[in-house]
């Protein structure tokens, strides 16, 4: 080595002295630490939220002002129909970032460090899902804010909107387990995103987000009626309008539980076995 080479001066040898073993954090504490990590990521990379928000905002503006009058007689009547749908669309599109984030962690090697820590095994994933709730709330707040600025008024009141948000978040939580599964299975973050876009877009388009399915051809009506997104939109719309039935809400809750029941154990199995 020549004399120009710098050397790290380990100024305080005690820094490297063997410390006393700490007790690993509890499951809840470890999960909340990972949730904090998600919040920090939104803080440092807010662009990611922006990319996803652009679509619902553009759709809300475009559909309301361009087609609203033609579709529902007036833009304000159409906005009342559309806004719950764009709210659902916003959050569902955001869920795929759970899988992309997990896959990125695997690709970079961060994942290996977390997996070799003495912590509750599901903590990194549960924590990320908790952190995602924060992102969903920010995005939902922006969409509702946009709606209010455009003249949207919810018949269901604040309670109705809050209940609708709660329902959307519950469904998003169930759906996220599909993304964590894919995040563990797919090779690259890009591949996860491709699947995400090619599944979520058709699902949100072939639903009752934008139009009343009664105006569509019979075969499409069949698709729209079996599409889970339609059920979520119907229940959300009902809650925000103050007309939701127990059956509509129950359908979404059961679907969310079913998704979690299948894909959460699958995710944890893949996580434990991941090479």
């Amino acid at each position: 080595m020549n004399s120009e080479s710098g050397h790290v001066t380990i100024r305080q040898q005690p820094v490297l002295a063997k410390g006393t073993h700490t007790n690993p954090p509890h499951a809840a504490s470890a999960s909340m630490t990972f949730a904090w990590r998600s919040v920090l990521k939104v803080e440092h990379v807010p662009e990611q939220l922006g990319d996803v928000l652009a679509i619902p905002v553009i759709f809300t503006l475009m559909f309301t002002y361009l087609f609203g009058g033609a579709l529902a007689g007036s833009t304000s009547a159409y906005l009342r129909f559309l806004l719950p749908g764009t709210l659902v669309m916003t959050v569902l599109l955001l869920t795929m970032y759970t899988g992309i984030g997990l896959n990125t962690d695997i690709a970079t090697g961060v994942f290996d460090r977390y997996r070799s820590l003495p912590i509750w095994r599901p903590a990194p994933i549960i924590g990320a899902l908790i952190g995602d709730v924060g992102r969903y709330l920010i995005a939902s707040g922006l969409v509702v804010g946009l709606g209010l600025a455009m003249g949207y008024r919810a018949n269901g009141g604040t309670t109705g909107v809050a209940a609708a948000l709660g329902l959307i978040l519950t469904f998003a939580f169930g759906l996220s387990w599909i993304w964590t599964t894919l995040g563990l299975v797919m090779r690259t973050p890009g591949a996860v995103m491709n699947i995400g876009v090619s599944v979520l877009f058709p699902l949100t388009m072939a639903s009752n987000v934008f139009v009343d399915p009664d105006t569509t051809p019979g075969w499409l009506q069949t698709i729209i009626h079996v599409n889970p997104v339609s059920h979520l939109v119907t229940a959300t719309r009902g809650l925000m309008d103050g007309t939701a039935t127990a059956g509509q809400t129950a359908w979404v809750l059961i679907a969310s539980a079913a998704l979690a029941a299948v894909f959460a154990p699958l995710t944890m199995h893949l996580y434990a076995r991941k090479g």
């Binding site: 100024r11 002295a17 073993h21 920090l40 990521k41 961060v110």
Partner: protein, 325 residues
């Protein structure tokens, strides 16, 4: 539980499809030593490390870390080890300080203690100035130091470093070496992998040479150098047709096998004693064998493999000599 060996492996195997990544490895790493696993890409170094760090399950054989079985007692092992993998094992979106605080919290430190420890490590590793910037913008050497610091929040009984200097410039490499030496001085057991013979030589108390999923040589650096040669003499002949004569002379004086290279005029031979190299060069010139170039350097991994096994490293592509900084 006390044990004399930090790592004990016997008959370890791991297959990926039809590839036998680890094919019957036996290894013992004594507590308090720096142990180097030396080998080319695909020799099974990383796979072995990942099994020891409980990230991969072995297919066969047994592996114990700090006395605990890697399959049945993985939780116990995770409390005693830290792994700095080959990739960047910190979150690039976060700042250096945030990464260390996050990991401190996950190791069970309270918020205040985690912040204090993060500041200490950033300072000691000369990263304090960049502490509040996103790691994405850091240089490779700084990131590597943070990677290692992240493994030392609670200094583990056993630290795994997977190719800690691959891809680093010479300056950053020597900084990583300083850190490993400082750790060794405090008695932490370190198991590191490397593709560089000189790195294994400078840092390790013992070295295992891996090839094709097996241990092909094991011993202290001094023992290995006896079989590999501490240096390599490379000569380029002005007249390639003099090669047979040059080979005979070199083999005779250096008392070691002369290796042919793809280039007709280029010969390399292990050198145990540098003074013999001088003698060899003098004799060549006196015998009328003109040289256009000569060099005395550390043997590359490929040359070490030749000396140990008689075959070049698998998948070796002729390339310029490895940088020995």
């Amino acid at each position: 539980m006390t044990t004399a060996a930090a790592v004990e492996i016997s008959g370890l195997t791991k297959h990926f499809g039809s590839t036998r990544a680890v094919n019957g490895v036996d290894l013992t790493v004594p507590v308090g030593t720096v142990y180097g696993i030396l080998g080319p890409n695909g020799a099974g170094k990383t796979t072995t490390l990942r099994i020891l760090a409980t990230l991969l399950r072995p297919d066969g054989g047994e592996a114990r870390v700090m006395g605990y079985d890697v399959v049945r007692q993985a939780g116990q092992i995770r409390r005693r080890i830290c792994l700095t993998g080959q990739g960047t094992s910190v979150d690039q979106d976060l700042t250096g300080a945030e990464n260390l605080v996050l990991l401190g919290r996950l190791m069970g430190l309270r918020r205040g203690a985690a912040r204090k420890r993060a500041a200490e490590l950033l300072d000691a590793f000369d990263l304090a100035a960049a502490a509040s910037r996103s790691v994405r913008g850091w240089s490779g050497g700084m990131r590597r130091r943070l990677d290692i610091a992240a493994s030392l929040i609670v200094v583990p009984d056993l630290l795994f470093l997977d190719e800690p200097t691959t891809g680093l410039d010479p300056r950053s490499r020597s900084q990583v070496w300083d850190i490993v030496r400082a750790l060794a001085a405090t008695g932490t057991t370190v198991l590191l992998t490397t593709q560089y013979l000189d790195e294994a030589d400078r840092l390790s108390d013992r070295i295992a040479v891996f090839g094709a999923g097996r241990v092909i040589a094991e011993g202290t650096p001094a023992e290995l150098k006896t079989s590999v040669g501490s240096g390599v003499l490379t000569v380029r002949l002005r007249h390639p047709q003099q090669r047979p004569a040059a080979e005979r002379l070199l083999a005779d004086i250096l008392d070691s096998p002369v290796h042919r290279t793809a280039e007709a005029a280029l010969l390399t031979a292990p050198v145990a004693d540098p003074s013999r190299a001088t003698a060899a060069l003098t004799t060549l010139t006196q015998s009328g064998i003109a040289l256009s170039d000569f060099a005395l350097g550390q043997p590359s991994l490929n040359e070490a493999f030749l000396a140990l096994t008689g075959t070049p490293t698998p998948n070796h592509k002729p390339s310029r000599k490895e940088d020995v900084a």
